[in-house]
């Protein structure tokens, strides 16, 4: 019996922990927003971050999108073949990519690639007193470090998400036409028939929200670093795990609101 109770206790603690985190996170976001009113955004840093999050991630995002689109096409084929609706593979791939997988996969990949580095970079600055040094120089770290990352992430995520979706649909098309040997025109025509503009921009809204979530949590976690390299490692892990959880959670909420 006891181990079951222990188990529930653990779940309870974890939920309390998430709520607690949410509380401090809201305070953090408030501070970041305040910093926006006090100073104008640091353009140099914003630009650096846009390159880091966006341009440098194109390849990896494209690659993920490509494989996911190809797999989707293949999987959809096995199901569609049974009921004889293979012409629906195109819309299946396209809608899955734009509404769901494009934004979510992009967000998870960027969390792994950039969120982790935001947390560890700020974490290292924190433990080596560089954040203190910024503060003594009257430079608000929220303005100088957090906002450029959050805004860059917010701008770049939808762009990356589009790239991912487009390449995914392309991958799906390639599998459809060349590996499965079906009629490519049907693939495209059916997408035009079944996809609405709202599918695309709702996907983009998701990407914007995910971008804000991942950068906010990752930078916020950085400031929590204490101790030594182990402390930086710990907050980096937490940043990636928490961002991913909140992204998936937000995905559910947004899907139920938007579609």
């Amino acid at each position: 019996m006891n181990f079951i109770l222990d188990y529930f206790e653990k779940i309870g603690f974890y939920i309390l922990y998430l709520i607690n985190e949410l509380g401090s996170l809201i305070i953090y976001i408030w501070n970041c927003i305040l910093s926006l009113f006090r100073y104008s955004i640091n353009i140099d840093n914003l630009f650096d971050q846009m390159v880091f999050i966006g341009v440098d991630s194109f390849f990896i995002i494209g690659l993920t999108g490509l494989f996911v689109g190809m797999v989707l096409s293949l999987q959809a084929y096995y199901a569609a073949k049974i009921v004889g609706v293979t012409y629906m593979i195109g819309p299946t791939v396209a809608l899955s990519m734009t509404r769901e997988l494009g934004p979510v996969l992009t967000a998870l990949m960027i969390t792994a690639r950039c969120g982790s580095s935001m947390a560890s970079e700020i974490g290292t600055m924190k433990i080596s007193e560089q954040i203190d040094a910024l503060e003594v120089m009257s430079v608000d770290p929220y303005y100088f470090l957090s906002m450029p990352r959050i805004i860059a992430s917010m701008i770049m995520l939808p762009i990356l998400s589009i790239v991912s979706s487009l390449i995914g649909i392309l991958g799906g098309y390639v599998v459809y036409k060349f590996f499965l040997g079906l009629n490519g025109t049907v693939f495209v025509d059916m997408i035009y028939k079944y996809m609405k503009l709202s599918d695309i921009y709702n996907g983009l809204i998701k990407a914007v929200v995910f971008g804000i979530i991942l950068a906010t949590i990752s930078t916020y976690k950085g400031y929590e670093a204490s101790g030594g390299s182990k402390g930086v490692g710990r907050v980096t892990t937490q940043a990636v795990v928490l961002s991913s959880i909140y992204i998936l959670f937000a995905d559910y909420i947004l899907t139920s609101i938007l579609f």
Partner: protein
């Protein structure tokens, strides 16, 4: 005038500052000495509000740091320059940009003026020619000197030095001590220096204060310290193993 009044500070049950009282006179150099781990760095961070006291007040020209908001605190901090114990250089930008950083943030200077100022600052600490290196490529002592140059670049009213000469060779220590003295004469800043280096303290200080067991046990001129009857002070300045300080 900066006054620390009845400051208490503990970390996880460890009492570091215990009813600490000290005042720092304007345009004078005060050197605070004390053993390693006594809380000197903690005390210094209280002055700029990086650490908040558990109880007690930090007063800057009669303004209580605890009663002002963040914006006012930032305004106030513009009067300060600070050398952190480990330098706290920004490790993602080179030495030039590190020293230029405060200039770029707070003054609108032409690039030419920035270069001139940074180069002369580097020259003062004996480090001409390293401006394109990254902080990780420097020795500990070099980083310390870059930190000194960065802290002084805005010619602040108050400069806090956390062990500016620790880790430097004796000659370089003297160069830094002399730099502190000469710039102080010239710019008339209030200097607060943390140090274990008793000879250096005699040389640079207008006033010396000794921190022991979380409180200031003696303040006064170098002469007063040399002749002090306090057995703790005596043991510290003579660097003896024998005495009331338990090791």
């Amino acid at each position: 005038m900066i006054i620390l009044e009845n400051i208490d500070k503990s970390f996880k049950g460890l009492k570091v500052l215990d009813n600490l009282n000290i005042s720092f006179e304007d345009k004078k150099i005060t050197v605070v000495i004390g053993r390693s781990g006594e809380g000197k760095s903690v005390m210094l961070k209280h002055i700029v509000g990086l650490i908040k006291p558990d109880s007690g007040r930090v007063l800057f020209n009669d303004i209580d740091l605890n009663t002002i908001n963040k914006k006012e605190l930032n305004e106030l901090r513009k009067k300060f320059g600070m050398v952190f114990q480990d330098g706290a250089l920004f490790d993602s930008i080179n030495i030039f940009e590190n020293i230029a950083f405060p200039l770029r943030q707070h003054l609108k200077l032409s690039e030419g003026d920035i270069i001139k100022k940074v180069m002369s600052g580097l020259n003062d600490v004996g480090l001409s020619g390293i401006e394109l290196k990254m902080p990780s490529e420097l020795s500990g002592g070099m980083r310390k000197r870059v930190a000194v140059a960065r802290a002084m670049i805005l010619e602040p009213e108050i400069v806090l030095f956390d062990e500016p000469t620790t880790g430097l060779d004796p000659i370089m220590s003297d160069v830094i001590n002399n730099l502190i003295i000469s710039t102080q004469k010239q710019l008339k800043y209030t200097g607060i220096i943390i140090s274990h280096d008793i000879e250096g303290a005699y040389k640079t200080a207008d006033i010396i204060a000794m921190l022991y067991k979380g409180a200031i046990i003696e303040t006064g001129s170098a002469e007063k310290f040399k002749k002090s009857d306090n057995p703790v002070v005596k043991q510290f300045v003579t660097g003896s193993m024998v005495g009331p300080i338990v090791i």
